[in-house]
């Protein structure tokens, strides 16, 4: 676990989660989770199903109260409060729109019971429908709207009461790929405009990478890493994060000495802080970081390989490369179509590649 207390700016934290654990029977869904979220941040909980991300969100909402631990929101201890006494708006994957109420009544649902004047409610509902881009749909029923439109109504309803915290539980998972991409931008722009602290749960790494200010990667009930999308992608803190986010080569090597790993009969220069000498390690490198151009004999970490397979993926080719010397495992590399043409690459061809030291991550072998 790294970085759980640093965040953007020096503002006081808005949401403070301390030593949170949650048991369902004897199954631990959350194990001693601590996290700080700052005002105005868009934070994504990312992880595979069963990793505890939804449990953490529901604990923040008070829908499934944690077994132990503390949650503070805006300086107030909300650990024991029922959902109705907390301050949040929520959007579910199922939208949970009231099917028998039209869009106007759905969006105004939380306003009517706070003694607001009818005219004020109408104005507020109109403002919200404009905000989510559905100015003319007030009289329609949810069943008459598309999935994307329903999700916008759900968002408008959650925002109606001006909550201090917006919770999004896989809000885009039930939508078509195209609608999903468009809604990502819309949700993000609404959130920015309102400066609303937002937590979104997702299992879609692309969604998290494009939307979040910070990503919280979770697995088996613990936080693996917290960081900005580029930190998470470039500097994964654990093999799990490296594997879960993006595509990653895992190469088995032996730590020969400080800063040196032997792989495929070669000594590679790599950053190896904190790892014991003569131990087995895993080298990680992204397919797009494998260098092919502008190499000469003095380039460090040079590796002769043979192309075993080429998968055409549209704008690039994914190549499977086998080191010609030693018993090193196969390496996957992404070659642009340009490169393919320039170097005349095809299956069976031999070439030299380089594994840039600043792009290599090294973890102790499991």
């Amino acid at each position: 676990m790294t970085n759980t207390t640093t965040g953007p700016g020096s503002a006081a934290p808005y949401l403070k989660i301390e030593h949170l654990s949650k048991l369902f029977g004897s199954f631990a869904a959350l194990k001693d989770v601590s996290l700080t979220i700052y005002p105005g941040e868009f934070v994504c909980f990312l992880g595979p199903s069963g990793c505890g991300k939804t449990t953490l969100l529901r604990a923040i909402a008070g829908l499934d109260v944690q077994t132990t631990g503390k949650i503070e929101q805006g300086g107030r201890d909300i650990s024991r409060l029922p959902p109705s006494e907390r301050d949040f708006g929520i959007v579910f994957q199922s939208y949970a729109l009231f099917p028998n109420l039209n869009v106007t009544d759905n969006v105004g649902y939380g306003l009517t019971s706070r003694g607001m004047k009818r005219a004020d409610i109408t104005a507020r509902v109109k403002e919200l429908l404009d905000l989510v881009g559905l100015p003319d749909s007030g009289a329609k029923y949810p069943a008459q709207l598309s999935g994307g439109q329903q999700q916008r109504v759900a968002l408008a309803r959650a925002l109606a009461t001006s909550p201090g915290l917006l919770l999004l539980d896989e809000p885009l998972s039930a939508l078509d790929a195209r609608v999903r991409v468009r809604l990502r931008h819309e949700i993000r722009s609404v959130q920015r405009r309102l400066g609303l602290t937002t937590v979104m749960v997702t299992h879609d790494q692309e969604e998290a990478l494009t939307m979040a200010d910070r990503i919280v990667v979770m697995n088996h009930g613990v936080i693996e890493q917290v960081g900005s999308p580029s930190e998470i992608y470039r500097l994964p803190a654990t093999p799990f994060v490296a594997d879960f986010v993006g595509t990653m080569n895992f190469l088995d090597g032996l730590l020969a000495g400080p800063g040196r790993v032997s792989f495929a009969g070669l000594d590679l220069t790599v950053p190896t802080d904190g790892l014991a000498a003569n131990s087995n390690v895993r080298l990680c490198i992204r397919p797009e970081d494998v260098a092919v151009r502008n190499l000469d004999a003095s380039t460090p970490n040079l590796l002769p390989v043979e192309i075993r397979a080429l998968d055409f993926l549209g704008s690039f080719c994914r190549a499977t490369l086998k080191p010609t010397a030693g018993k090193g495992s196969e390496i996957v590399a992404d070659f642009s179509i340009n490169l393919m043409r320039d170097l005349n690459l095809e299956v069976g061809k031999r070439l030299s590649i380089a594994l840039p030291a600043d792009r290599l991550r090294v973890f102790a072998a499991a």
Partner: protein, 568 residues
């Protein structure tokens, strides 16, 4: 629950959620609901159980039971009940299966008509087919000679009447079971070159297996526990249901009545659990990707099934018609001119038309109060946060009535409400106890209907309401009730029709002022006024049918207005 493993991640004290106002209201609701179920179901059954171990208020252990099983005259009824139930099941099951098969798997004409026809007996008290049989084959019947042994009174009459009475109940289950078919299975079987016969035995029958089990259990239980038919046409053939009545009403031997009640409970409870076990084994036959089977025309088969349905449907209609006709005959069988004088009930029974009024009133209250309690109760059990113990207890008691015959629950009511010192004793001999009893008697099926409807709602409605700070009660009124309105209407109709037609539970509980139409049918028939009894039974049919038709029309109108949101 498994032991919590040793761990180092539980830091600090356990967090216990504070209760919101909604939580407090919901839990208080659950407690009240348990109280209601205790009074309506659990305590009366407990009274019955303890009564069976008593003699004049003293605990005598198993003495009553020993006396029961050592008295051949009493014990013979167990065998008689069992015998009639098995024979009826053996007759109804194949008939209902073929009929259901015709309705679901053929391209026969007039399916809607045949389905409606077959369901008619549900609207009538069980007594009605028995009365019709008496008209046809009784001592004055003109088809009397058709009956082997010369008399309809006894096992033959009981069985025939039960067949009519049980048919629609079995049919409904089998129609549901047979409607669930995946046409891909049939296409695969066809493609593999299986014969029709083989397809029937390897695809159709296994698919309907659980429906058949369920239908068999339902028929068996209905026959064992029905009182009306055995009372009217049983003659000297004693069954468990009539024994209870004789012990309690005839001989005022309450303890022995309680013992017979407990004995009657055994087969019903066994059937209940057997059905549960069988249903639990059932896996979803229809996957989400199943392609519904649309029967193709096949003239030979379709016409054969059409002929079959015409005969069976005709017999059902005929039985009803005989009762209707009989109720309009001046003096059977000597003067067959038509008259309405049999409907002047004041000439045949001290309560006259009053009994009919009582029934309508009682059924209406049962529908209104029962539906409210059942729906709110199911809502409380579905939506209360935490409080698993209370909810589990309530759920258990709510399932009990399905396994308890009406006579047994009625007898329990006598013991419980009549007991000295019961503050609820004022209910005794009022219409109130009849309403309460009817609600309890028909509780489970309605409870399951309500629960199913509630489970179809998005589980996050309550979470959304809480986040918007809207009280749960408001969401209940604004969303839950409107969305569940069709189910609520179904429940109220079910309660009304059953309260209107039931005899068994209320036979012990009516007083001279609160006599019901169905009881009047029994009384008038007993006094020899068969035509008046038929007339009253027909009044029950007309009322149930009228309400049912009104329900269909109302549902249609309602769909147009308040369920507009269901349309795209």
């Amino acid at each position: 629950m498994a032991e919590i493993p040793a761990n180092d991640y539980l830091i600090g004290p356990r967090v216990k959620s504070a209760m919101s106002r909604d939580d407090i209201i919901m839990r208080a609701g659950v407690v009240l609901f348990i109280g209601f179920l205790a009074v309506a179901v659990a305590l009366p059954l407990w009274s019955l159980l303890s009564k069976s171990f008593e003699n004049r208020g003293e605990f005598v252990g198993l003495a009553n039971y020993i006396r029961y099983f050592s008295t051949p005259a009493l014990f013979a009824s167990v065998w008689n009940s069992f015998y009639v139930a098995v024979i009826t099941t053996a007759i109804v099951l194949p008939l209902a299966f073929v009929y259901a098969y015709a309705l679901t798997r053929s391209d026969m004409r007039w399916k809607g008509l045949f389905q409606a026809l077959a369901l008619i007996p549900i609207l009538a008290p069980s007594l009605l087919p028995a009365i019709s049989l008496i008209y046809l084959f009784g001592n004055q019947g003109f088809l009397k000679t058709w009956i082997p042994g010369g008399t309809i009174y006894g096992p033959i009459g009981i069985t025939i009447a039960q067949v009519f009475y049980c048919f629609p109940h079995a049919l409904m289950i089998l129609v549901t079971a047979l409607s669930m078919a995946d046409s891909r299975l049939y296409e695969a079987a066809d493609a593999l070159g299986a014969s029709k016969r083989r397809i029937f035995f390897t695809v159709t029958l296994p698919g309907a297996k659980y429906g058949l089990f369920s239908a068999a259990f339902v028929i068996f239980t209905l026959v064992i526990t029905d009182f009306g038919i055995a009372k009217v046409i049983g003659g000297r053939f004693n069954v468990l249901a009539t024994d209870i009545y004789k012990q309690v009403i005839g001989q005022q031997n309450f303890e022995m009545g309680a013992v017979v009640g407990m004995v009657l409970l055994v087969p019903a409870v066994l059937a209940f659990f057997a059905d549960r076990i069988v249903q639990r084994r059932q896996v979803a036959l229809l996957s989400a990707r199943a392609v519904p089977l649309i029967p193709k025309p096949e003239p030979k088969r379709d016409w054969a099934l059409f002929a079959f349905c015409t005969v069976v449907g005709g017999l059902i209609f005929g039985i009803l018609a005989v009762a209707a006709w009989g109720s309009l005959i001046s003096f059977w069988p000597y003067n067959l001119s038509l008259t309405l004088k049999n409907y002047e009930f004041n000439n045949f029974d001290t309560n006259g038309w009053g009994a009919y009024g009582n029934s309508v009133q009682m059924a209406a209250w049962t529908a209104v109060i029962g539906t409210s309690i059942i729906f709110v109760g199911a809502y409380l059990l579905e939506k209360t946060r935490g409080f698993a113990l209370g909810r589990g207890l309530a759920q258990f008691i709510a399932m009990l009535p399905l396994a308890v015959p009406g006579l047994v629950i009625g007898l329990g009511y006598i013991f419980f409400f009549n007991a000295r010192g019961n503050p609820l004793g004022f209910l005794y001999a009022t219409i109130g106890i009849l309403v309460l009893n009817s609600i309890a008697h028909f509780y489970t099926v309605s409870h399951l209907t309500a629960t199913t409807a509630l489970k179809q709602l998005d589980t996050e409605f309550e979470a959304v309401s809480a986040s918007l700070k809207v009280p749960l009660l408001r969401t209940f009124w604004k969303v839950t009730v409107p969305v569940c309105l069709p189910a609520i209407l179904d429940i109220s109709i079910y309660m009304f029709v059953n309260a209107m037609t039931t005899v068994s539970a209320v036979i012990f509980l009516y007083s001279t002022d609160t006599k019901l139409a169905s009881v009047a049918v029994v009384n008038m028939e007993e006094s020899g006024f068969t035509a008046a009894a038929a007339a009253m039974a027909m009044m029950i049919v007309f009322t149930s049918a009228g309400v049912k038709i009104a329900h269909v029309l109302l549902t249609r109108g309602l769909d147009k207005r308040t369920q507009a949101w269901r349309r795209r």
